[in-house]
């Protein structure tokens, strides 16, 4: 039912206004990315200007190293998500279809590891990684991302498996299918949309992760978070370049995020809000 009273129109206008205020910093970054450095750094901001792709060119050119960091971000986010799913799917499968007395405990324990603050495990992980040569190493970072997202993946995949009737597993079992066959041929096709959205959410979280990247990597395995953070010392000099690099980093995730909104609520609240 649409509200066409004055109050209703005002509320709608307020909603638009608030949405614009929330989005404005992102819009401002987007606009700045299309400016020249001179246009970006002015006392009176320029709202109208001739857009240029120069800053993107500068941000992407060989010397900037952008592509090196972007590649690290892509590899760590994608591989950590895939490894995470590879471990989470069998675990969720066992818990959803073959629950034992300990299943509830195991599941809640898995979820609870998400609530250990990263600083609580930072120091030993840093020291052990140093010993093993895993500092500033893409494998080491990727495994950390996997651990970071595992509780979420196990939980989400579990909750999607729970929506599938158990009879299907039992029927396949009677037909003589092995566990692996049942999982691959019967359950996975049914749960695929759910698994994909869990993976999407893990991908977004890994891409945006900055605590572990900032503390555990320096250059070789550094991700875009570390690259963007390096602009913090070059204050006020390269706003257009900084914005262009930021836009390239943030834009794909904002687009993916829009698709993942619903699943995000389900995943991040661990099923507490549906």
């Amino acid at each position: 039912m649409k509200d066409r009273t004055i109050g209703g129109i005002l509320l709608t206008a307020l909603a638009y206004f608030v949405a614009l205020v929330m989005f404005f910093p992102i819009l401002w970054m987007l606009l700045t990315a299309f400016k020249t450095e001179q246009n970006a750094f002015t006392i009176d901001p320029h709202f109208l200007f001739v857009p240029t792709l120069d800053s993107f060119r500068v941000a992407l050119e060989q010397g900037s190293g952008y592509l090196h960091y972007a590649l690290n971000s892509v590899v760590s986010a994608v591989v950590s998500t895939l490894v995470g799913l590879l471990l989470a799917i069998p675990a969720a499968y066992a818990m959803a279809f073959f629950p034992t007395k300990r299943t509830d405990f195991t599941l809640v324990w898995m979820v609870s590891t998400k609530f250990i603050p990263a600083v609580g495990v930072l120091i030993p992980i840093y020291l052990v990684y140093k010993q093993l040569g895993l500092l500033d190493n893409l494998v080491g970072l990727t495994l950390l991302f996997t651990a970071m997202n595992m509780p979420l993946l196990v939980w989400m995949v579990y909750s999607y498996f729970k929506d599938i009737p158990k009879d299907l597993v039992e029927a396949a079992d009677i037909d003589g299918a092995s566990t692996l066959q049942t999982m691959r041929k019967v359950i996975l096709p049914l749960a695929l949309p759910g698994i994909a959205s869990a993976g999407l959410l893990a991908l977004i979280l890994a891409w945006n992760e900055s605590f572990w990247s900032l503390t555990m990597t320096d250059h070789t395995a550094a991700t875009l978070a570390v690259y963007i953070a390096s602009f913090k010392s070059a204050e006020g000099l390269f706003w257009a370049k900084m914005s262009a690099a930021s836009v390239l980093t943030v834009a794909p995730i904002i687009v993916l995020g829009w698709f993942a909104q619903r699943q995000m609520v389900r995943g991040l609240t661990f099923g507490a809000v549906k």
């Binding site: 992102i26 970054m29 073959f98 509830d104 590891t113 603050p117 930021s246 829009w258």
Partner: protein, 312 residues
């Protein structure tokens, strides 16, 4: 507790017991083990090591000084004024950001729960900040919005005839709170909106027919229903706000002085700049305990939900 196990046999007893016979033992454990072992190695082992270090003399600059330290690290931590500053800063950051994100998020959720033209677009724009990398958030706000001369807020203030504020120098904690809130209002909005959309419409119709006004409707129908959702938002956000790091790292580096040093930043500094593993581990244990205060309630809630879900 064991309702899932009970529910199966009642549906198809022979098949279930056969499946049980085939799969209850080793194969199921084999499916579960990799994930459990992985989480154990990456989270629980380091946590125990942190606890161990907290009771050791361990400074990377003084490799000869080792051994059991008793509670010395905790004593040193407790007489360090920076620790207390960081603890207070953490609580201020968590408390203020909670109040802002939950109240603004609730307001927005109510605003976006109406049907109007372009609602999807408006909601999508409002949610976008949540997907911005925290490092980017820090730099964009620090430079392009908060900058005392070239920032957009300075321009706005000048136009309103006010003196521009050097946000990060004059109001460092407020600036951090603004940035964190900007990132997390969308989270509160999204979850509260989901909660609102599952409101019992028939009940609202009923009280409207009984002549309840908007406030009464809000007070007696919306609030109780949303109570649970709010609880989850508050708990989750508390845990995430406790560990804020990137926003501080990229803007104030914990300063000026210790004005924006929170517990994670304090731990980071004592480990990576003072090389004192003992004290930073003691502080890390403090952070874990603080997070646990919130997560115990949340975990209990999740666990309760689990059983409610399987009874359905």
């Amino acid at each position: 507790m064991s309702s899932p196990a009970v529910a199966v046999p009642s549906r198809s007893k022979p098949a279930a017991s056969k499946a049980k016979a085939n799969l209850s033992g080793a194969p199921v454990r084999r499916l579960l083990a990799p994930a459990v072992i992985f989480m154990f190695v990456w989270m629980i082992v380091p946590l125990v090591m942190t606890l161990y270090y907290a009771f050791r003399r361990y400074n990377l600059m003084m490799p000869d000084v080792t051994g059991f330290a008793g509670i010395t690290n905790f004593k040193l931590m407790f007489i360090d004024p920076t620790f207390w500053d960081s603890l207070i800063n953490t609580l201020v950051l968590v408390g203020a950001s909670l109040v802002i994100t939950v109240s603004v998020g609730l307001g927005l959720a109510i605003l976006f729960n109406r049907t109007f033209v372009g609602r999807g677009v408006a909601r999508t724009l409002a949610i976008a900040p949540f997907f911005v990398m925290p490092v980017v958030t820090g730099l964009i706000w620090k430079n392009m919005l908060f900058h005392p001369v070239y920032g957009l807020l300075a321009w706005v203030f000048r136009h309103l005839g006010l003196n521009p504020i050097d946000w990060l120098a004059q109001y460092p904690m407020l600036s951090i709170i603004i940035m964190v809130s900007w990132e997390w209002i969308p989270f509160a909005l999204l979850i509260l909106l989901t909660g609102l959309q599952s409101l019992p419409e028939d009940q609202i119709e009923a009280v409207r027919l009984d002549g309840a006004n908007r406030w009464q409707e809000f007070r007696h129908i919306v609030v109780p229903h949303l109570g649970q959702v709010l609880y989850v938002v508050v708990m989750l956000e508390s845990i995430f706000f406790l560990t804020s790091f990137a926003e501080i790292y990229t803007t104030t580096s914990g300063g000026p002085g210790t004005a924006t040093t929170n517990l994670p930043y304090y731990i980071y500094q004592s480990a990576f700049f003072q090389y004192d593993i003992g004290i930073s581990s003691a502080a890390a244990i403090g952070a874990v305990i603080l997070a646990n205060i919130f997560s115990i309630f949340l975990i209990r809630f999740v666990a309760g939900n689990l059983n409610a879900g399987s009874r359905r």
